[in-house]
């Protein structure tokens, strides 16, 4: 078991009362799995993804990485864990707008304190993503498909053990979406653990297992 949650609950205090975003969520992700998380808008998918990624402390319960409770680690340790072991890809790509393609990727390596053969590795991963001719372009100069490929390159440069993808094809046309999904499938085949949030049942079907969340609770086995 690479990652699991144990009765994880997340409540938010708001002006008009308390909102329960996740309630007693217990899931297990095996190493090398390709898991999709589905559910309607506002069901708690993104909250669960942030919690699994060590960025949102559960109000109750715990998240374990290789049986270690990550929310008992110090903030700095959790940041280091994210920097070295975790990759994120988002629907809005979230590239740093004032950095070039090569710099966006480079910064991820810097944060992981892993500068060995930095340039060579960056050039290789960008070549894998077919971006060799866009190294010094800003994100505003790229197509949406290219931007998502840069985001993938940024997540993959540090060779993470697990990749979290939040609707990575949500802003892409069908062809580009298919390209990105193909990359994710290839990565999974190479042994990467991938957790993918999606609304699209067809995309969910591509994964090995689907976890469905409704109103912050896991729906009894959707597809396993």
């Amino acid at each position: 078991m690479i990652l699991k949650t144990q009765l994880a609950t997340k409540r938010f205090s708001q002006k008009h009362g308390e909102v329960i975003a996740l309630k007693d969520v217990s899931i297990e992700i095996k190493k090398g799995e390709f898991v999709s998380i589905t559910g309607p808008s506002g069901s708690g998918k993104s909250t669960l993804l942030l919690m699994l990624g060590g960025m949102s402390t559960p109000t109750q319960g715990q998240v374990f990485w290789e049986n270690e409770p990550i929310y008992q680690w110090k903030l700095k340790e959790r940041a280091q864990w994210r920097a070295k072991k975790v990759g994120f890809v988002f629907q809005s790509f979230n590239l740093i707008p004032y950095l070039t393609v090569i710099e966006n990727v480079s910064i991820a390596l810097r944060l992981a304190n892993d500068s060995a053969r930095e340039k060579e590795r960056i050039l290789q991963v960008l070549a894998d993503m077919k971006l060799s001719d866009r190294l010094h372009h800003l994100s505003s100069e790229l197509s949406v498909g290219q931007q998502q490929r840069v985001a993938l390159a940024r997540a993959l440069i540090k060779n993470p053990e697990i990749l979290f993808a939040d609707e990575p094809t949500g802003n892409l046309d069908p062809d580009t979406a298919a390209e990105v999904l193909a990359v994710l499938k290839k990565l999974n085949n190479e042994g990467k653990t991938i957790i993918l949030i999606t609304h699209d049942p067809n995309i969910a079907k591509m994964t090995q297992r689907t976890i469905r969340i409704v109103n912050g609770e896991i729906e009894p086995t959707a597809r396993s």
Binding site: G53, K76, N94
Partner: protein, 405 residues
């Protein structure tokens, strides 16, 4: 990619913000530099004016009074000229111009006048023992050091008030305004007094005091005429007012127990009050500008943090810790502070040099040391004002990265 490069890229990406924040910081520093520059030269000008009020410490014979001093009637009570040696060779701090003096009544063209002997600076310099004590002619730092300011410092007025002159021949004569007018004496005239011939070097400007009825010549000449070799009536001292309030009088009393040491309270008090007022005014302005400037920088940094919440969330997702995130904002603050400090120094100096003569009526010159202070103040202020925004940045909720743009 290094964090420094990242910060510089971000700064240049937001040109408008950069320009507005630099203008804010630079203007703050420019105002500080301008005010400090003008007030420093104003203080010098005021110190120069106050200095022309004359001596504020008198060393008199035990039996003499201040009234005797003003009337130049010491009734045969004198002190040894050696007291001047003792003062100059002592380690007393805060003594500016020392002026030993011996006076005697004379008659000139039927009018009564006072012939006063003074010692020129060249006499002090010529004495080997006093060479090491030449600093005695300079007030210590922070004492309102008097620097001659072209257009403001009147050398003749200084001679009259302080009896300080760089050089004076044994038979040279400086004539007070009343005596010159009453006896129709002009510069270059030759005069005979008590069988001695003098050449009139200068006619002194009118002061409205007893000095207008005096004639000044070399101390040793007067001593010879009066038959009072190595004796003087008084030593006038321009003492540093802060040194006076710090116990200078007691120290002189201890050094010269057989003399009477008195202060001219009104002069000392005026000097102290003026210095205190200028220092307070300058400090109040400085504090106000620092608070306003600090608030401006903090506001700019808060806005920057708010605008970059998503970016901060992305960095967090990539594994950035709190220290790294705080560093990018503090580094930005330091760069803005450094640039603002440099620009502010030059702007403030240029404004002071141009406006100083118009506002304060004094010439103002650039002070290079203020460049260092400007940068230090600007960087430290920027960093201090950015601490809370930087801490706020580390507490951004990463959920912002999940929100659609």
């Amino acid at each position: 990619m290094k964090i420094r490069q990242l910060v510089v890229r971000e700064i240049f990406q937001r040109n408008n913000q950069l320009i507005s924040s630099l203008i804010a910081v630079s203007l703050g520093i420019a105002v500080i530099v301008g005010i400090k520059n003008i007030s420093l030269f104003s203080e010098k000008a005021v110190a120069s004016e106050l200095d022309s009020l004359g001596a504020n410490i008198l060393i008199l014979p035990k039996s003499a009074s201040v009234q005797d001093y003003y009337s130049a009637d010491f009734q045969n009570s004198e002190i040894p000229e050696d007291y001047v040696d003792m003062l100059t060779n002592s380690d007393l701090k805060g003594i500016d111009n020392l002026s030993p003096k011996l006076s005697m009544p004379v008659e000139i063209k039927g009018r009564k006048a006072i012939l006063t002997g003074i010692l020129p600076r060249s006499e002090f310099k010529s004495k080997a023992m006093w060479q090491r004590a030449l600093g005695i002619f300079s007030k210590p730092e922070g004492c309102g050091t008097v620097v001659p300011i072209p257009g403001l410092t009147d050398s003749k007025k200084t001679i009259v008030r302080k009896r300080v002159i760089d050089d004076l021949g044994k038979n040279a004569l400086l004539v007070g305004a009343d005596v010159a007018t009453g006896s129709k004496i002009s510069e270059g005239d030759s005069l005979t007094l008590l069988g001695n011939t003098f050449k009139v070097e200068a006619i002194l400007p009118e002061t409205g005091t007893v000095d207008d009825s005096r004639l000044f010549t070399h101390l040793h000449t007067v001593q010879k005429i009066a038959g009072k070799e190595s004796l003087i009536h008084v030593i006038e001292i321009v003492g540093c007012c802060s040194a006076i309030s710090g116990g200078l009088i007691e120290k002189i009393n201890k050094l010269l127990p057989d003399a009477k040491v008195v202060t001219i309270t009104q002069i000392v008090q005026t000097q102290l009050n003026t210095n205190t007022m200028m220092t307070k005014l300058s400090s109040i302005l400085l504090i106000i500008i620092l608070i306003v400037g600090g608030a401006g920088i903090a506001n700019f940094m808060f806005a920057n943090v708010y605008e970059r919440r998503r970016e901060i969330g992305i960095f967090m997702a990539m594994g950035a810790g709190s220290a790294w995130i705080a560093e990018i904002f503090l580094l930005k603050a330091a760069i803005v502070g450094l640039t603002g400090g440099i620009l502010g120094y030059f702007t403030g100096t240029i404004l002071a040099v141009i406006l100083g003569p118009k506002i304060a009526g004094i010439p103002v010159l650039p002070i290079p040391l203020y460049a260092l202070y400007s940068i230090l103040i600007s960087v430290v202020l920027s960093l201090l004002a950015s601490i809370i925004p930087a801490v706020k940045a580390t507490r951004v909720d990463p959920v912002v990265i999940m929100q659609e743009e």
